[in-house]
C-alpha cells in the first residue's frame, strides 16, 4: 500500500551523515603499512615495558602466518582488505599530555561539542566520567580524582600498562587470547589505546563510566583495546559510543573488549555504534570487526551486553559470555539497523560451563534499503552445566523489498537437565498497524517511528538513561525520513 511505498521512498533519500566533518589537527603519524617495525614503533611511542612489546610481537608473528585466513564465514561481502595500505598509528599532536581540560587543544574540544559531548558540562551536570579517545591517544580524563578516592581505576590502557602492570599482566589477553581470531590477533599487535577499568571489591561504582571513540585521521585503522575487571561483589555500568567523520575510503576498525567478572560482581556494557556507514551507493564507510567477550569467572557473576548498531558499512561483531562460575548469567540485547548498502553480521555466543548458568538473548534486526542484516548466535551447553537455561528471541523487520534479513542460530546441548529455547520471526510493518496509527491522526512517518521504536523497545529500555535518549535519536536518524 501507499504507506509502505512512502517508507521505501523516505528510506531511499537518506540524510547526509549528520556527524560528517573533519577536524584538522596535525597528526603524529607512523608510516603507512604494517611491519614488525611499526609494532615496535607503536610500543616505543607508548613507552611500553618489554613484556608488552614481546606480547605484541608474538601476536604479530602469529598474524603473519594467518594473513590469508581472514574469516569468510559471515554473510558479508567486501573487497579484500589491503593491510599494508593503512596507517596504524596516529595521535593528535598535543606535545605533552594535558594536565587539565584548559590545556586541551580547543579545536578538539570543538569537535566533541559538535558530537554532543560537552566535556566540561558533563563533568558538572551529567555525572559521567568520560575517557575520550581521539584517534588513538586519550586526551582527557575527567572525574578521575573522584573515582580514585573510591579505588576505581579508570584510565587509558597505555597508562594502565605503566601504572598497573600487575593487573594488566594478569588479565590482558586472559579472555581474548592473542591467538583468538584473525582480527583479535591483529589488534593485539597494533592496538594503540583504549580504556582500562578496575572496580575494587564490594564497590558499586556510583557513576556510569563512558568512552567516546572517534576515528579522525584519514586511513587510520582504529585498534582499541578495552579491559574491564569487576572484582568480587562490585558493579559497574560502562557506556561506549562512536561517531565518525565522513570520508570516502573504507576504514578498518578492529577492537577488542575483555570483561572479567568475579564472584557476585556485575558489569553492564552498553554500546551505541554509529560509525560512518558509507553513502547511498555503499561508497566509503567503516569496516567494523570487533571481538567482545566477557568471562563470568565467579559464582553469581553477571554480564549484560546491550548494543545499538546503526553505523558502519560492515559490522562483524559477536559480544559473548563465558559462563564459567556457578549461577552466573549473561544477557545480550541488540538492535541492529541497516540501511542503503550496509551489511551487519552480528550476534552473540553464550557458553554455559557452570551449574545453573542462565543466558538470555534478545536480538532485533531492522533492514531497509539494499542492506543485509544477519543474526548469528551460538548457545553451547557443556556436559557439566547442570540446570542451565537459555532463552533466545530474534525478530527481524524488513522495510522495502530490496533488503535481506537472516537468522543463523547454533544450539548445542550436552546436558539433559539444561533447557534451551529459541524462537525467531521475520515480518514487515503490517498494513493494519499503519492503518491503525494513521486513523488516529498520525502521518505515515510518525506511525513508522512509533512502530519501529515499539519493535526495539525491549532492547532500548535496557540502556542507561543517558544512552537511551541518544539511541532513540539514532534509530530515527538511521531510518531518517521515515522515522520522526
Amino acid at each position: 500500500m501507499a504507506a509502505t511505498q512512502q517508507t521505501v521512498d523516505a528510506v531511499r533519500d537518506v540524510e547526509k551523515y549528520k556527524y560528517g566533518w573533519e577536524t584538522n589537527i596535525e597528526s603524529d603519524m607512523a608510516p603507512k603499512g604494517l611491519s614488525e617495525d611499526i609494532v615496535r614503533f607503536i610500543s616505543a611511542k607508548k613507552e611500553e615495558p618489554e613484556w608488552m612489546l614481546d606480547w605484541r610481537l608474538k601476536a604479530y608473528r602469529l598474524w603473519l602466518t594467518q594473513e590469508d585466513q581472514e574469516p569468510d564465514w559471515a554473510k558479508l561481502k567486501y573487497p579484500k582488505i589491503d593491510y599494508q595500505d593503512s596507517y596504524y598509528y596516529a595521535s593528535p599532536n598535543l606535545g605533552d599530555a594535558p594536565k587539565s581540560l584548559d590545556e586541551v587543544d580547543p579545536k578538539l574540544l570543538e569537535t566533541y561539542e559538535k558530537l554532543g559531548i560537552p566535556l566540561r558540562e558533563q563533568e558538572m551536570l551529567a555525572g559521567v566520567a568520560v575517557d575520550a579517545v581521539f584517534d588513538s591517544v586519550s586526551v582527557a580524563t575527567t572525574y578521575k580524582k573522584k573515582l580514585n578516592e573510591l579505588g576505581v581505576i579508570f584510565c587509558p590502557m597505555s597508562e594502565a600498562i605503566k601504572e598497573h602492570p600487575e593487573l594488566v599482566q594478569k588479565y590482558l589477553g586472559s579472555v581474548v587470547p592473542y591467538s583468538d581470531n584473525f582480527f583479535a590477533t591483529l589488534n593485539c599487535a597494533v592496538f594503540t589505546d583504549g580504556s582500562f577499568v578496575y572496580i575494587p571489591k564490594g564497590l558499586r561504582c556510583p557513576m556510569e563510566l563512558s568512552t567516546y571513540f572517534r576515528i579522525n585521521e584519514k586511513n587510520t585503522g582504529q585498534f582499541e583495546r578495552t579491559l574491564i575487571i569487576a572484582d568480587e561483589g562490585s558493579y559497574v555500568s560502562y557506556l561506549e559510543g562512536c561517531t565518525a567523520p565522513q570520508r570516502d575510503e573504507n576504514q578498518l576498525h578492529a577492537a577488542v573488549v575483555e570483561l572479567v567478572v568475579l564472584d557476585d560482581a556485575e558489569i553492564k556494557y552498553s554500546t551505541v555504534q554509529n560509525w560512518y556507514p558509507g553513502d547511498e551507493d555503499g561508497k566509503g564507510g567503516i569496516y567494523n570487526f570487533v571481538t567482545k567477550r566477557a568471562a563470568c569467572r565467579g559464582k553469581n557473576s553477571k554480564v549484560m551486553w546491550t548494543q545499538v548498531e546503526t553505523g558502519s558499512a560492515i559490522t562483524w561483531k559477536y559480544p559473548s559470555c563465558i559462563l564459567q562460575g556457578d549461577n552466573s548469567s549473561g544477557e545480550f540485547y541488540s538492535v541492529a539497523i541497516t540501511n542503503n548498502r550496509q551489511q551487519a553480521d552480528t550476534g552473540t555466543k553464550m557458553i554455559h560451563l557452570g551449574k545453573n548458568t542462565r543466558s538470555k538473548i534478545i536480538a532485533k534486526g531492522i533492514s531497509a534499503g539494499r542492506s543485509n542484516s544477519t543474526y548469528r548466535g551460538l548457545v553451547r551447553i557443556q556436559p557439566k552445566a547442570e540446570g542451565a537455561r537459555n532463552f533466545t528471541q530474534c525478530d527481524s523487520l524488513l522495510i522495502g523489498n530490496q533488503c535481506g534479513a537472516h537468522t543463523v542460530p547454533y544450539i548445542e546441548s550436552r546436558n539433559p537437565t539444561a533447557q534451551t529455547e529459541h524462537e525467531a520471526t521475520t515480518s514487515k510493518i503490517s498494513d493494519e498497524q499503519m492503518f491503525y496509527c494513521q486513523q488516529r491522526g498520525m502521518n505515515p512517518e510518525e506511525a513508522i517511528s512509533l512502530i519501529v521504536n515499539g519493535f526495539c523497545k525491549e532492547v532500548l529500555q535496557t540502556l542507561p538513561m543517558e544512552f537511551a535518549v541518544e539511541a532513540q535519536k539514532l534509530v530515527g536518524i538511521s531510518l531518517e525520513g521515515s522515522v520522526g
Partner: protein
C-alpha cells in the same frame, strides 16, 4: 581444510569405480557425462570435513576409512526371502531392492497400475528409453549442491522410475523397500528413485530403508521428485537400518504451481544416518509439509538436513521435527528456510524439538532463516531439554508409576508430530514402529500398559 584428504584416494576411488564397472546408460553421453562430473566432484572436493558448514556436526571419517566394495558384486550374500523384520504397508505395491539390486522375485508385479501410470526399474529405463529421463535425471538432484547427491549420481545403477501423466491418480500406495546386507566385506550401494507427477496427478510413495545384521554397509539413496501443476505427492521415508550401517540419503523435490508435497521422515535405526531434503517451491501457491521424527540410542548419530526454498509468491512451508535421544547418541538438525526476492507473501514455519532422556546424548541444532522478501511471515523455533518434572509429577499424582509416566510422555512427544501424517495406514505403520522402538529402549509403550 578437511580432516580427510579425498574420497577418491580411499573409499570410492578408482578401485571402487573399476569394480562397479560399466553402468546402465553408459553409452548415452549425457548420462555418462553426469556420472563423470559427479565422480570428478567427489575427487576435487573430497570428503567434507567439519569446516564445511553443511557437515559441521556430522563426521564422515568412518565412511571414508571403510574399504567399501560395490554391494552388488558381493558373492557371499544371499537374501532368498523378504526378512520378517521388514515393515510392510498393508495393501501397498511392493518393489524390493537388495543391496541396490532390483529383485523381481520379491517384488509385486509392476503392471496395470492404471491409465497413464508407469513404474519401471531405473536400469531398464536407462537402457531402453534413456531419452524419457533427459529432462528429469539431475534436474533437481544437483551433484554440485551436496556430497550425498554427487556420490549417488556418480554411481547410480538401479532404482525405480515412477511416472504419472496428466490427471492420473494412483490408488494403491507404492512401497519401495531397500534392504542392505553385507557379506565378509562392507558393501555400498546407490539406489536412485525418480518420481514424476504431471499436472494434477496424485500418488503416495513409502520408502523403507532397512538392513540385515552383519558387516557395516552404506546405503546412499537419492530420490528425485518433480511435481507438475496441482500435482500432489505424499512421500514417506522410513529409515530403520541395521545398527552398524551407514545411511546417506537425499530427497530433492521441485514443486510447481499449486502443487503439494507432503513428507515425513522417520529415522530409528542405523549407526550413522543422514537424511537430506531440499524442497524447491517453484510455482505460485506451491505448498509443502516436511515433518520428521527420530529416536536414537547407544552411539547412534542422526542428522536431519533440510533446505526449503521459497522461489515463487504465495508459497507455504511447514516443518516440525522431533527427536528423542538416549544413550550416548548425537542428534543434529540443520534446517534452512530461504525466501527469494520474488517470493512475496511466503508463509514459512519451522520447529525442532529435542528430548534428552539421560546424561550422555548431544543435540546440535541450527535452524536458519534467509529472507530477501519483505511481505513474509516466517518463524522458527528450537528447544532442547529433558522431560518436564512437573509433567511426571502430574502423572505420579494420578497414581501412575514413574516408568509408565515417562513412557507416556516420550510417546506423546513423538506422536504429536506423527499425527500430522495424512495417510492413515502409513500413520499407523509409523506409530507401530515407534512403539516397537520404545519397547526396545525399555521405554514401555502405551499399548503395553
Amino acid at each position: 581444510m578437511t580432516a580427510v584428504k579425498t574420497i577418491t584416494a580411499t573409499a570410492f576411488g578408482d578401485t571402487y569405480a573399476n569394480a562397479v564397472g560399466a553402468l546402465p546408460g553408459a553409452n548415452e553421453s549425457w548420462i555418462d557425462g553426469l556420472r563423470k562430473t559427479s565422480r570428478a566432484l567427489l575427487g576435487t572436493q573430497g570428503v567434507p570435513g567439519p569446516k564445511t558448514e553443511a557437515w559441521k556436526y556430522t563426521s564422515l571419517n568412518q565412511i571414508a576409512k571403510t574399504p567399501f566394495i560395490p554391494a552388488s558384486t558381493a558373492d557371499d550374500v544371499d537374501v532368498p526371502l523378504l526378512p520378517v523384520t521388514v515393515p510392510l504397508l498393508d495393501g501397498a505395491l511392493k518393489i524390493v531392492f537388495v543391496n541396490g539390486v532390483y529383485r523381481s522375485d520379491l517384488s509385486d508385479k509392476l503392471e496395470d497400475l492404471g491409465a497413464g501410470i508407469t513404474l519401471s526399474p531405473f536400469a531398464d529405463v536407462l537402457k531402453s528409453s534413456p531419452g524419457s529421463l533427459k529432462d528429469v535425471l539431475g534436474a533437481v538432484m544437483e551433484p554440485a549442491q551436496s556430497f550425498t547427491a554427487a556420490m549417488n549420481t556418480g554411481f547410480m545403477e538401479q532404482g525405480t522410475v515412477l511416472h504419472l501423466s496428466n490427471g492420473a491418480k494412483l490408488e494403491q500406495p507404492i512401497q519401495i523397500l531397500s534392504i542392505g546386507a553385507s557379506g565378509s566385506s562392507p558393501g555400498a550401494f546407490h539406489p536412485r528413485f525418480e518420481i514424476v507427477l504431471e499436472e494434477g496427478a496424485q500418488a503416495t510413495v513409502v520408502e523403507c530403508h532397512v538392513g540385515l545384521p552383519g558387516q557395516a554397509y552404506l546405503s546412499n539413496a537419492a530420490t528425485e521428485i518433480i511435481l507438475g501443476e496441482r500435482a500432489a505427492l505424499r512421500h514417506y521415508t522410513i529409515v530403520s537400518e541395521d545398527s552398524d550401517a551407514f545411511h546417506l540419503g537425499r530427497t530433492a523435490v521441485s514443486v510447481e504451481q499449486n502443487a503439494q508435497y507432503e513428507s515425513f521422515v522417520l529415522s530409528l535405526g542405523g549407526h550413522l544416518v543422514r537424511r537430506e531434503v531440499q524442497v524447491r517451491l517453484e510455482g505460485d501457491g506451491a505448498a509443502t509439509t516436511v515433518d520428521g521424527a527420530y529416536g536414537l540410542s547407544g552411539n547412534q548419530h542422526s542428522d536431519v538436513f533440510s533446505e526449503i526454498l521459497h522461489l515463487a509468491p504465495d508459497t507455504e512451508s511447514k516443518q516440525t521435527v522431533k527427536g528423542v535421544l538416549g544413550g550416548d547418541s548425537r542428534g543434529v538438525f540443520q534446517g534452512r528456510i530461504h525466501v527469494a526476492r520474488t517470493a512475496q507473501r511466503t508463509d514459512g514455519r519451522q520447529l525442532h524439538k529435542a528430548l534428552l532422556l539421560n546424561r550422555g546424548p548431544e543435540v546440535d541444532c541450527k535452524p536458519e532463516l534467509e529472507i530477501y522478501a519483505d511481505d513474509v511471515q516466517c518463524a522458527h523455533g528450537a528447544t532442547t531439554g529433558e522431560m518436564n518434572p512437573e509433567h511426571i509429577f502430574y502423572l505420579l499424582s494420578r497414581g501412575i508409576d514413574e516408568k509408565t509416566a515417562r513412557a507416556l510422555l516420550v510417546e506423546g512427544f513423538l506422536d504429536d508430530v506423527i499425527l500430522n501424517v495424512a495417510d492413515e495406514p502409513v500413520r499407523n505403520l509409523i506409530l507401530d514402529l515407534v512403539k516397537t522402538w520404545l519397547a526396545r529402549q525399555r521405554i514401555l509403550s502405551i499399548g503395553e500398559l
